[in-house]
Amino acid sequence: MKHKTFFWFFLPTGLAMLLFIFLPIVSVISQSLHVPVDAVLVTVEECGPFGCKPSTTIDQEATQLLRDANPLGQWAGLEIYFDRSHLAVAEVGELWRNSESWGAFFNRLGNLPFYRAMAFTLTYTFVATPLLIIFGLMIALAVNTLSSWIKGLVIFFSLLPFIVTPLVGSLILFWMIDARGVVGSFIQWVFNDPTLSLKASTPLTWITLIVYGIWHSAPFAFVIFYAGLQTLPQDTLESAVIDGASRWQRIRYVVIPHLTPLVTFVALIQLMDNFRVFEPIVGFNAEAHATSLSWIIYNDLSGEQRLLTSAASTSVLTILCVAILLSPVLVRTWRDFNGKT
């Protein structure tokens, strides 16, 4: 393509990206570097239905003068990135000096909100993503062998978990896994332990969330792989049969290599999606046991008092983490591209 043609072809997309991706990110970064001005506090008398008492409030006039002088807020630089709610540089340094072993260090690192969230987010991402790819492939291979009259129905039902809104799906499961719910009672019966509760223990909550994540996203992998299976080269398959390849050998040496680009695609999308895990934590009321970076942003924005700078810093950190997470795949794509030209 000529450079000029490419320019005009790309211009609308480029403008949209500038407007809806680049500028918001600039705004988020700018927000993360500024904090509200210091509030001027005064003690006044407060009265209501239950009597009068002294109370502290904000001196609006004095604070407004400060706000007018600093319309963006007070410059904070990277201070918020390094405070206890985020990277906690000072706290981690102290832990490092005072911990005798690696185990003690990591154990106490989990006490800091950012690292606690990272521990669950990374575990969730790296356990759920490969498993959902494997399950998706297995379902696709199984459905592909069905006779055509039942295929449509099976595909529809296999897709249901993906169609259900994540929040609604997790809310329904929240009651099913209750100690008195269908699934909860069944698990108690299987393990013969009437006090077993999935919601009361941290490891079991993590497992529940990961199983939910796989259940929800495996249909996505399934649909992609199923589409890929329709383009399988029949000649190669037939010659493999003639050469005496077993079903497993055909899958291993013909089907999987054919689907590799799709596996990369599903892995890319699901790594990003799973890193932003959020709805199941809210739906399962699981914040006592598991938090994620997205949940921290939500918590900062939905508290009684909004913490915009804190939410912005966590957003920037999320973007950086996703970039790091995807870098191996992106580097590979870049190499492939260079190799071809």
Binding site: V35, P36, V37, D38, A39, L41, V42, T43, V44, E45, E46, C47, G48, P49, F50, S55, T56, T57, I58, Q60, T63, Q64, Q74, A76, I80, D83, R84, S85, E91, N111, P113, F174, D178, A179, T195, S197, K199, A200, T202, F284, N285, A286, E287, A288, H289, N299, L301, S302, G303, E304, Q305, R306, L307, T309, S310
Partner: protein, 417 residues
């Protein structure tokens, strides 16, 4: 089906009654202007919304957005000039963010011009300026199953020490395994239970006159130990059960002693949706004492309305008139309205549903603080307490974590240097 029909018909009848009441020349001429209300969603507030909406005319537009998400919408919706919402229905727990950002206006001039007789008990004044008009009171108090306690020969509890003793007996006699309930869900719920228990132990949240947290002390430790002791007698999932879910547990007959919001007791006393024998034997009593401070372990709440500062004088005036009409004493004559809440409006007749809240007011309970930084401490408590409740760390460590998390947030928000 028959029930549904009756419910529908009575709803229509109530609506017809309500509309005739307003049509009957009940003073509701608000002149010209725009009235737009944001608020929580429960029956008493819906009554206000309907009352204000009845004031709409060709020259005055009245809309109401009553939603559980009100706290997340109200600040952004009142920040622009002119503001999307002219009225916010708030409580003493949610007024602070509006005050912090200077989003609500003093009402003294409007009261002088249009409602000179407004009783003082409804005025929320700060530094001599009326910032909100209260219309109802609310509080968390004890609810218990009279039949279960009687079966074990126990008295209604008066303190959390009684609750623990009763729970022990109920478990030992095999009557109920987990008889204690509470909205201990991680987040706002458990933070609120800490606030109650800390006040009950005579604690002060902040060092006097500053925004410095003051909870990492003996009172804080005693608070956490009592919460932990109670949780031993709760459903093991207690950190995942909020007000809605624990109410469902109550109606299923799985709980015998529960601290619950007064505004939610009508639902607990309603046989509809309850296991047989639960609603009939649900009894209300005041708040629990704890330790020897003499202050009950609960907080008093008021619900009220405020007017946005970023709206024109005409809109503010129309909004004020519409809201005054919506809390006119005549609304109590409408079917069922008197029972909806503990109204602070003149002419309100207390009912058996309001017993718990009245006992709380009489018991000398303290109001939930309206300090601008209390919300940050509440959020920090909600995020850090689950570690202690799960036995992962000591009370002192958890309280130190809460103070550290609060300090980071308060520094960011400009309350601490």
């Amino acid at each position: 089906m028959k029930h549904l029909k009756i419910a529908l018909l009575s709803g229509v009848a109530a609506f017809a009654l309500a509309s005739t009441a307003y049509a009957d020349g009940h003073a509701c001429d608000i002149g010209e202007g725009r009235v737009s209300i944001i608020g929580n969603e429960f029956p008493a507030i819906q009554t206000l919304g309907a009352g204000a909406a009845a004031c709409a005319s060709d020259s005055a537009e009245v809309t109401a957005n009553l939603t559980k998400e009100h706290k997340n919408i109200q600040v952004p919706g009142m920040t622009n000039n002119p503001a999307e919402y002219t009225v916010a229905i708030i409580s003493n727990g949610s007024i602070a963010p509006l005050m912090t950002d200077n989003l609500i206006r003093p009402l003294d001039d409007l009261i002088a011009a249009h409602a000179p007789d407004l009783p003082n008990q409804q005025k929320i004044t700060l530094d001599g300026k009326v910032m909100a008009v209260a219309f109802m009171a609310n509080a968390q108090h004890m609810v218990y199953r009279s039949d279960i306690l009687a079966e074990a020969g126990l008295e209604a509890p008066k303190s959390y020490e009684d609750v623990l003793a009763n729970a022990k007996v109920l478990r030992e006699k095999g009557i109920m395994e987990n008889p204690v309930g509470g909205a201990y869900s991680a987040g706002w719920g458990i933070g609120q239970e800490f606030n109650n228990m800390f006040i009950g132990h005579g604690g002060e949240f902040f060092k006097a006159g500053t925004a410095e947290a003051n909870i990492n002390n003996e009172k804080g430790v005693a608070t956490l130990e009592m919460m932990k002791a109670l949780s031993e007698y709760m459903n093991p999932d207690f950190l995942a059960l909020n007000n809605n879910e624990i109410s469902a547990e109550w109606k299923a007959g799985n709980v015998a002693m529960l601290q619950m919001w007064g505004s939610r007791t009508p639902a607990l006393l309603d046989p509809e949706g309850s296991v047989e024998g639960v609603a009939e034997n649900t009894a209300l009593t005041g708040p629990m004492m704890v330790g020897d401070s003499g202050t009950p372990a609960t907080t008093l709440w008021w619900d009220g309305w405020t007017i946005a500062s970023n709206v024109s004088d005409a809109d503010a005036e129309a909004s004020f008139k519409a809201m005054m009409a919506s809390i006119d004493p005549s609304i109590l004559e409408q079917e069922g309205v008197n029972e909806q809440a503990v109204w602070l409006i003149e002419g309100y007749e207390p009912t058996n549903l309001s017993e718990g809240v009245f006992q709380t007011i009489k018991s000398g309970a303290t109001p939930y603080p309206t300090l601008p930084y209390i919300g940050l401490l509440h959020t920090a408590l909600g995020a850090e307490l689950p570690d202690f409740m799960q036995g992962k760390e000591s009370a002192e460590q958890t309280l130190a974590d809460v103070e550290a998390a609060y300090t980071a947030a308060a520094k960011e928000a400009g309350f601490l240097q």
